[in-house]
Amino acid sequence: MWQLLESLENSGYAIWLREAPTVLAYATVLAAHALGMAILVGLSSVIALRVLGFAPGLPLAPLERYFPLIWVGFWVNALSGLVLLSLTPVAFLTNPTFYIKMLGIAGAIVSVQLFRTSVFGHPASLDTKPVPMKGKILAGTMLTSWGVAIVAGRLTAYSFFTEWRTVLAVLSLTVVLTAGYKAARRLGLSIKSTRQGRATPSTGY
């Protein structure tokens, strides 16, 4: 098995794609992987965030039209990912982080599919009834899985030592940003209530 992978790694195809003196080979496959990610994760995350309660004014039902494009993003990344894997298969398949990335992607893709059927299954009542809890849970699972896939995907390029430090840094930054966001919302709310308080005179003449 490993011998087969090694011979793939040393094949003319892999060597040319890795070392060709043009950005149209290896670099373009990497760029395609970033573009596919932007489309796949970008569009699906916006829909998930909408289901979780952000941008409540946005009608849900028409968002289903974006799913075919989300799948285009997925296939761009599945194909470019397979090519990238075929260039250095041994390094990837012996790296635990790579498997965490794959688990993240599997979790996210299953969530996207279940999310689509559970949230968009009954388009007529979609914008009149609140989103079912199942849809919200799937949206949360999708966003978390994308986070795991992206962090693990980037970290496959780093040493184990750097990896777990970065994971801690990402978690800390997420906590700080979430707390900041919540604090800002509270502050915003309190400013609004103060304004309302001023608008209504408390003393009569």
Partner: protein, 169 residues
Amino acid sequence: MESFVNYWLTSPFLTHYMNYFPWAWPLAEISHFVGLILLIGGVGMFDLRLLGMAKGLPVAAVRRLLPWGVFGFVLCVTSGLCFVLGLNANVPNRVYDVLMTDIWLDLKLLFIFLAGINLLAFYLTGMSRAVDGLGPGDDAPPLAKVIAGTSLFLWLAVIYVGRLIPWGL
């Protein structure tokens, strides 16, 4: 000029910390990814609606996603500045030489600049106001479609040439 650029676009402080903390560089990279995802998610969805995808959405409602795109852009600029100001934490090159020789970085900056001009055109041509009244099923005016298509193309091009930057060093 050379020393001016090297002085203002190099931060020994940031370089030191990007070097000192092994997580700093990958954290900036991950922030850059999250930022571009929000940018394409927010702005891309708006552009696609103007181009005619998911026409059931009223444009004014999709507009609420633009601040997400702006937030993503800010994340990308912040992390991108860490790459430039802390360049020496990763490669020994000087910023001035990189700006003068890396065609992909120059193209990326050009495309971002053009995306800014395009956004300005969206407001100055009155298209920004014109599309706000578009309800479910309404078609955007041709000029708005041209601007939306240009925006989508430019941001995807920014990602493409951005990924090529290491090959131009």
